[in-house]
């Protein structure tokens, strides 16, 4: 009993939903009809959300760049230091060029030479003038290598400039010494002149008592002569003092300028990630200036950019430390890349390699990455970039192929997650197309357009969109003849034919208040029959032949002339002949008002299929009729 009730309810539900599930008839804008269409599809916002979610996932999945690289802001962050990364395209081209090149003998020689220079500049080694000069000469050899980029010449020029300044300072020092000698002489002259004037004045004072007024006048003239000479000597002395001060100022200025140029170049090398050259220049600086002026006076703005948020006072030593740390980090990074690659973690190796490459682009430590490995990573890198482009353009078919290729290149690539994301996006697009067709059938063109736009947005090359457009075109063409076709079929009671052409007829009769309800009625009926037939076929597969027959009996009550339904009955009848025999007998007896005979036949049929709904209803019906016949007629 329960089973029958459940089965019936399920059928009713399916019938209700089936009209839509099968691309059912346009039923007008009644809320009860449009609701399933809306419930069965996603809203526009959820589709966009899905699309965005996939794009975000694709961006993460197909983007091999490290989190420390920010191409939007053009920065690369390494241990709190921020470098200018330039735009992604430029970085990509340099990175690909690196992956395409092979370590050369020239680079090995260059690496050895730079190590030699750094070793020579070490404080633990011989730092005589001759040794430093030899080291300086090595810079010109280093600048001859392509990989050096001429930066060693810049270092050499800086050192040479410092030397020149120092030489000029020596010349200034000599002039200053001469002036100081002259000043001493002039001071003595001025002092002697003053002394002599005082002596003369005292001698003439003694003779004044003996002499007259005329003599007083003569002595006045002698004093005037001595005073004038002394004042000239004072002027000479002042001039000499001024010259000395000017020379001192010039010397200080020239020396400071040389140091500032050095410091500026060190910071500049750091910013350019020329860490070896920064180290070499720092080494020369410390040798040339003997530890004085270690505090950085220039490049504060650049340092603020390189070390954001730091208010520390930096020295040349701290710049050396940063450069050395970077070189060491590149070395360990290369080891990590090689280890990850050898363990089959190719995606991880590629990600780390980009970090290492950017930091140590001008360092020869990168030569530790073998050529074969570079080529493999290049293939993976290019495939990932292409996949990223395909994801951006939402070419899911091409992307699927590429994902499989990437999975072959990298074992640690999350292929399943990628394919799952692609399938989800495709499904969402398909659902939007389906919703669009539903709305189109309901003559809700605006909503249909909205759903179609969403389907295109999620998956522009979805083949279902093309099919939808072709179907719509076909419907529009057939719509003009729809009225005549419907009238003809309806007159001949060809309900199945109407049902099969329901789409175009619905389109054609959407504004026809007379025919539209008739069309709805026919389509509803045939849809119910169709569902019952499908249900019965499913039950036959499950071995429930009698239950299947009952569904076909239900369908026959709706329209006994339906072709597919009758075909299904004909196919099933031999398997349920004992049941059918009793039911037919019951029908015949009931038709002749032989209710007892009908009741007996129903009981016999129920013995064959105890769960029969038809038998249960027939028994109740015939028993009631029988009882009515047995009731004594009341006489008034």
């Amino acid at each position: 009993m329960w089973k029958i009730c459940v089965s019936s309810s399920f059928c009713i539900l399916l019938v209700a939903g089936g009209t839509f599930a099968q691309g059912g008839l346009p039923t007008g804008p009644s809320p009860s009809r449009s609701q399933p269409a809306q419930a069965g599809v996603s809203g526009p916002s959820s589709g966009v959300l899905e699309s965005n979610t996939f794009l975000e996932m694709a961006n993460r999945m197909f983007d091999p760049t490290s989190d420390s690289m920010d191409f939007e802001n053009g920065s690369f962050n390494w241990k709190g230091k921020t470098f200018n990364i330039t735009e992604q395209r430029a970085f990509r081209s340099r990175f690909e060029r690196f992956l395409l090149t092979s370590p050369s003998e020239e680079e090995v020689q260059y690496a050895a030479l730079m190590n030699d220079i750094l070793e020579r500049l070490s404080v633990a080694n011989n730092n005589t003038d001759d040794a430093i000069l030899d080291t300086w000469e090595l810079l010109f050899r280093a600048s001859g290598f392509d990989i050096d980029g001429g930066n060693s010449s810049v270092v050499a020029n800086q050192v040479f400039n410092a030397w020149r300044v120092r030489k000029e300072s020596r010349g200034v020092a000599m002039s200053q010494k001469e002036l100081e000698d002259m000043r001493k002489y002039q001071q003595e002259v001025v002092a002697n002149r003053t002394l002599m004037a005082d002596k003369l004045r005292q001698e003439r004072m003694r003779n004044a008592t003996n002499a007259g007024e005329n003599e007083k006048d003569a002595s006045g003239e002698g004093n005037l002569t001595l005073n004038s000479e002394a004042s000239f000597r004072v002027l000479d002395l002042a001039e000499t003092e001024a010259k000395i001060l000017a020379l001192e100022a010039e010397s200080a200025s020239t020396g400071l300028q040389a140091k500032l140029q050095f410091q500026s170049q060190i910071v500049s090398f750091l910013m350019q990630r020329r860490f070896e050259h920064a180290l070499v220049l720092s080494g020369f600086y410390q040798w040339l200036f003997k530890g004085s002026h270690q505090r950085l006076e220039v490049g504060k703005n650049q340092l603020e950019q390189l070390l954001p948020g730091s208010d520390l006072s930096y020295t040349v030593d701290s710049m050396s430390f940063i450069a050395r740390e970077a070189i060491n980090d590149v070395g360990s990074g290369v080891d990590a890349v090689n280890a990850a690659y050898s363990e089959g973690r190719t995606m991880l190796a590629l990600e780390r390699l980009q970090e290492v490459f950017f930091l140590g682009e001008y360092l020869t430590e990168l030569n530790e990455i073998p050529t074969e490995q570079r080529r493999h990573l290049l293939d993976l890198y290019r495939s990932l970039m292409e996949a990223s482009d395909l994801a951006e353009t939402k070419d899911y078919v091409g992307l699927t192929v590429l994902v499989e290729k990437i999975a072959q290149l990298a074992d640690d690539f999350p292929q399943t997650r990628a394919l799952s994301g692609i399938e989800t996006a495709k499904s969402m697009s398909d659902m939007a197309v389906f919703a669009a067709s539903q709305y189109r059938n309901l003559a809700q063109i605006d909503k249909a357009r909205q759903e179609l736009r969403q389907a295109i947005e999620i998956w522009p090359s979805n083949p279902a969109i093309r099919e939808f457009q072709m179907e719509t075109t076909k419907l529009a063409t057939a719509g003009s003849q729809g009225v005549k076709v419907f009238d003809d079929l309806y007159q001949r009671n060809e309900q199945r034919a109407i049902y099969e052409r329901r789409m175009e007829l619905g389109f054609a009769l959407s504004d026809d208040p007379e025919r539209r309800p008739l069309l709805m009625e026919v389509v509803d009926q045939v849809a119910r029959i169709e569902l019952l037939v499908m249900q019965s076929q499913e039950l036959v597969k499950q071995g429930e032949a009698y239950a299947a027959w009952e569904l076909l009996m239900e369908a026959a009550k709706i329209d006994g002339s339906d072709g597919p339904m009758n075909q299904a009955r004909a196919e099933l009848a031999p398997r349920v002949s004992d049941f059918v025999l009793q039911l037919d007998r019951a029908d015949r007896q009931a038709a002749n008002d032989h209710h007892a005979g009908a009741l007996a036949a129903y009981l016999a049929a129920q013995d064959v299929y105890p769960a029969s709904k038809i038998c249960r209803e027939g028994i109740a019906r015939e028993a009631a009729a029988l009882m009515r016949g047995l009731q004594p007629v009341k006489v008034e």
């Binding site: 032989h594 007892a596 005979g597 009741l599 007996a600 009981l603 028993a623 029988l626 047995l630």
Partner: protein
């Protein structure tokens, strides 16, 4: 001689006694079935196939009650019963005039008449 005669007389009296007892048994048995005697059993399968062929006949039914299908006060009840010798259930009508408690699963012998429309009308019944 005398003993032979006496022996034969004794044997005869015994035979008569046995015959008398058998006759009594038969008579008692006939009297016990009352108005069920002489009735033939309903051919159930044939009845189900063509109930019209049995109209007006009276049969003896040995059945077990399967279920009660319908009851109407002052009229009677329609029962589904399983007849002996048949796998099919058949409907019977028991009028209210038969005042007996009928329970599902109980076995009865019934005297039934086939009436209009193939109705099996129970005229009398008893447990067995």
């Amino acid at each position: 001689m005398f003993s032979i005669k006496r022996q034969s007389t004794h044997l005869l009296s015994h035979s008569l006694l046995v015959a008398g007892l058998m006759l009594c048994g038969i008579l008692l048995s006939a009297c016990g079935r009352g108005n069920f005697s002489g009735l033939e059993a309903l051919p159930v399968d044939d009845y189900v196939e063509k109930p019209g062929n049995f109209l007006g006949n009276t049969y003896l039914l040995s059945v077990q009650i399967d279920s009660q299908i319908e009851w109407k006060e002052g009229v009677g009840r329609i029962l589904a019963v399983e007849a002996e010798g048949s796998s099919s259930r058949i409907p019977i009508f028991v009028p209210d005039t038969i005042e007996q408690n009928l329970h599902v699963g109980q076995r009865y012998e019934m005297r039934a008449n086939i009436r209009k429309g193939g109705l099996i009308y129970v005229e009398d019944l008893r447990k067995f």
